[in-house]
């Protein structure tokens, strides 16, 4: 076999170079391709859509039970169930119940995104290329944002398609004509929020494991607060102080669920069977003001991006 | 001291070390090989980080893996460049001395001694995170020496050292070898390994190609005759005389016209004959040297074979 060293033509590259604007995409693509190969990510993606899958099964059997049976009683029961279903609430529940798997997805995707680069001193390599800090930051952000967006959007769109095709006669398209664009906006914000926050945490450490644990701690400690507010609301007979309604959303998933409620203009209902019955105390916490919660999310995203920017550096000087 | 008997190690389908049998005794022995030859795997087998898939690895007749007793006699300076970065060098060496079983006072005094030996006494209180590559190498050597082991294994110890540092390191290893210790050094820097020792273990693709003294190994490589460069301002006259010798195989002229290269399978006889030619026949020979009687050439010959 001829030695490859004799062929030196590869050493002189005089072909086209990509324009500067594609540098961030190289970093993003690397992140996306690496993520797509992770088995646990594939499993978690499937798990995050569990509510939609369960709803499809429930609705299928309800529909089959109604249309397959010959009795009027069966049809009336089925009609009663379907009338109770608030369609936008199903998407709210699908989004809400995806939050815990989404946390794990974010940890898998983003905990080591910058921390591992800190550890292996890869930033020296990145920033010694014609690659700016902004390219690096945007590339890392997009590399996390896109997979999260896809993981959330695909089941939502599929469930939307199934409902649109199967339950239009129950007012699916009529009751919420803007449902799909609204959900896409919610998913965009959620993906951006998680990506920005996990990048900021990752940039603070040089071990992905510690960054992941920190992000998980932030999630669960704030989540407890939401649970506590939820219990306070539930036990207050509708007389809970005003801050409870706002503090309920004072957590990582609370903010996102609050944004979803505000965009969909719903306070939610009971999962699966839907319907809102009974006193105020039995109803879910009302949606927060859209402007306020949007601003909070945007401030957190911007603040996280700023923190990440400050932490990205090629060399750490040790005294 | 260190015995390997038909030791092999697989990583799935990939052979890391293939049926290696050798003994490593007191003195400095160089472990040589290209990248991926199996040097680090061999080091890990001897230091008990891995078990051989087949065969055995013994230190002083004791199996290594999971045998803490062996580590009293063994010191290991790994290739990795990772430490407890928030610790100082002194704390790191003292900590490892304590883990060897020494009391606090004993560990401290030993750490001071080895840090002075490796030239880190005045810099050992800084955090390791701020150390240069050479300083980190010295700290690694210090922790390998702190418990005064009978055998020290060093994986690429000269990496990152400046020329002065390398010279000091080589001298230190020589001193340790003179104390009767077994030193196994894995390195790519052949000309410096040559200054340390003439005893080598050469690995290629997991197999042991050669072991023993450099000169003896060179003698045994029949495929490549010895090359001797003879310097003379009248190379053609010298060549005319040398070509008639029965043990000279080939003569080549240097393009610059001030030397010629002789190939012979009997270098001993050739070297014995040169003075006779100069004194008796007044041949104008100004000097001679052997371009391939060195580690790099031997390495190349054996690996290509």
């Amino acid at each position: 076999m001829a030695s490859p060293i004799a062929d030196v033509s590869y050493r002189d590259y005089d072909g086209p170079l990509f324009a500067a604007r594609y540098r961030w995409w190289v970093i993003a693509k690397q992140g996306i391709l690496l993520a797509s190969k992770k088995r646990n990510l594939q499993v978690l993606s499937f798990v995050s859509a569990w509510y939609y899958l369960a709803m499809i099964i429930v609705l299928f059997f309800v529909n089959q039970g109604g249309s397959g049976g010959n009795s009027e009683a069966g049809n009336r029961i089925m009609e009663g169930i379907m009338k109770n279903v608030v369609w936008k609430d199903q998407f709210l529940h699908g989004f809400s119940f995806a939050q815990l798997p989404l946390l794990l997805v974010t940890l898998v995707l983003g905990a080591g995104a910058i921390a591992n680069d800190n550890r292996s001193r890869a930033l020296l390599v990145y920033l010694s290329r014609p690659c700016t800090k902004l390219d690096y930051l945007i590339g890392k952000f997009v590399g996390i944002f896109v997979p999260i967006f896809v993981i959330l959007a695909v089941p939502t769109v599929l469930f939307y398609g199934y409902c649109a095709l199967s339950f239009n006669q129950y007012g699916f398209l009529r009751d919420a004509p803007w449902l799909l664009p609204q959900m896409l906006v919610v998913i965009l914000m959620s993906a951006a929020f998680h990506a920005a926050l996990v990048l900021a945490v990752s940039a603070m450490f040089d071990q992905g494991r510690v960054a992941g644990a920190t992000y998980a701690a932030m999630y669960f400690i704030t989540n407890f607060f939401t649970v506590a507010m939820s219990i306070t609301w539930a036990t207050s007979d509708g007389k809970a102080p005003e801050p409870v309604k706002h503090l309920f959303y004072g957590s990582i998933d609370g903010l996102q669920i609050g944004f979803c409620k505000a965009i969909l203009d719903t306070r939610g209902s009971r999962p699966f069977v839907g319907g809102q019955r009974g006193a105020e105390a039995n109803l879910p916490v009302p949606a927060p003001p859209l402007l306020a919660i949007s601003l909070i999310l945007l401030v957190i995203i911007a603040g996280s991006a700023f923190l990440t920017w400050r932490r990205i550096r090629a060399v750490e000087v040790v005294g | 001291m260190i015995q390997l008997q038909n030791a092999s190690r697989w990583y799935g389908q990939v052979m890391g070390v293939n049926d290696v049998t050798c003994e490593i005794g007191p003195g400095v022995t160089a472990l040589l090989g290209m990248n991926g030859a199996g040097k680090s795997t061999l080091m890990r087998l001897i230091t008990g980080q891995m078990q051989p898939t087949t065969g055995s690895v013994m230190v002083d007749g004791e199996s290594v893996f999971g045998n803490p007793n062996v580590y009293r006699k063994l010191g290991y300076c790994p290739e990795i460049d990772d430490f407890y970065e928030h610790w100082s060098g002194r704390k790191f060496v003292t900590h490892l001395a304590r883990l060897t079983g020494f009391s606090a006072a004993e560990a401290k005094s030993r750490a001071e001694r080895v840090l002075a030996e490796v030239g880190m006494a005045d810099r050992a209180d800084k955090k390791i995170a701020g150390y240069s590559k050479g300083m980190r190498q010295r700290i690694k050597l210090a922790q390998a020496m702190v418990h005064d082991p009978q055998a020290i294994l060093l994986d690429e110890p000269l990496n990152g050292l400046d020329p002065v540092g390398r010279r000091e390191f080589i001298n230190l290893l020589g001193d340790l070898a003179n104390q009767g210790k077994t030193i196994l050094v894995s390195s790519h820097i052949l000309f410096e390994v040559e200054q340390m020792t003439r005893s080598i273990l050469l690995l290629n693709r997991g197999r042991l190609l050669a072991s023993g003294d450099l000169g003896v190994i060179r003698e045994l490589i029949d495929k490549y005759p010895h090359r001797v460069r003879v310097e003379s301002h009248e190379p053609r006259r010298v060549a005319e005389r040398l070509v008639s010798l029965p043990f000279v195989l080939k003569v080549e002229f240097d393009p610059r016209g001030d030397a010629l290269e002789v190939q012979t399978r009997e270098p001993g006889k050739f070297y014995d004959f040169i003075p006779q030619l100069v004194l008796d026949e007044n041949l104008p020979i100004e000097g001679f040297s052997s371009p391939d009687n060195n580690l790099e050439s031997i390495f190349g010959y054996l690996v290509e074979a």
Binding site: V210, I221, F224, V227, I231 | Q49, Y71
Partner: protein, 253 residues
């Protein structure tokens, strides 16, 4: 050597910068507790204490256990310093035991610090519950840390698994119908404290406190299970660590 390794590992785990983080967390818990108490004027402070001690404290303990347990061996392998530990004349099970015990003590300390913060925030009658809750937290520190250390010996990237166990399994299983609560560590800890019985009127809190398990798991069963489980994890971990290879890995987590 074992004692020295335990002491040096504990000192490393609880060095000032790390301690500061956990102290800040305890302060956050205190602030949270005061906020919840002030927003629930109709609820008794010890009901709030029950809520916090049964929900957040054990979650923090599990999180701390995951962080410290993965530093026993997992972090050493990841940062490639495992070679220094394994080339010392110290039996591997002793190395594992010393470091695991240090992690357990660290987790117990952090749990007790958090407990103190919560009890201080809620005040009043909650102080009478603190001793038994502290004992349960210590038992939890042993069980969770030993278990997560065992997981980290089997699985290279164990943090995700540990977090899923902590916040998925341990949160959901005790509250499932049937007898599933028997396979949750949290059920036994709740059994030790008999927490759900303290405020049986509040079904929401009881639900989160694992109401069913508290009636079927007595304190004696809880203690026996936790001791037995911890010993099992430590012994199996020691055997596994002694007979398997732990070589520095090139790929980071």
């Amino acid at each position: 050597m074992t004692l020295y390794l335990f002491q040096s590992t504990l000192a490393d785990f609880l060095r000032p910068r790390r301690l500061l983080v956990w102290t800040v967390l305890a302060v956050v818990l205190f602030v949270m507790g005061r906020t919840i108490v002030s927003l629930n004027p109709s609820s008794k402070p010890d009901a709030i204490y029950l809520l916090m001690s049964n929900i957040i404290l054990y979650r923090i303990q599990m999180l701390a256990a995951a962080i410290f347990a993965l530093q026993v061996i997992g972090a050493e392998v990841e940062q490639k310093t495992i070679v220094y530990l394994l080339t010392r004349p110290m039996p591997r099970p002793q190395i594992l035991l010393a470091r695991t015990l240090a992690a357990i003590v660290a987790v117990a300390f952090i749990s007790l610090l958090s407990l103190l913060a919560v009890a201080t925030a809620c005040g009043g009658a909650s102080w009478s519950q603190v001793p038994i809750d502290a004992a349960a937290l210590v038992a939890g520190a042993f069980a969770y840390t030993a278990f997560f250390t065992l997981i980290s010996l089997f699985i290279h990237k164990a943090m995700t698994i540990c977090l899923m166990f902590a916040f998925g399994w341990e949160t959901g299983i005790p509250n499932l119908p049937g007898n599933m609560f028997w396979v949750s560590i949290n059920s036994y800890l709740t059994g030790i404290t008999q927490a759900a019985k303290r405020d049986a009127t509040n079904s929401a809190i009881s639900a989160f406190a694992g109401g069913r398990s508290a009636t079927e798991i007595t304190p004696m069963i809880g203690w026996a299970a936790m001791v037995g489980f911890t010993l099992f994890c430590l012994i199996l971990g020691g055997y596994w660590f002694n007979n398997n290879e732990y070589v520095a890995r090139e790929d980071a987590e």
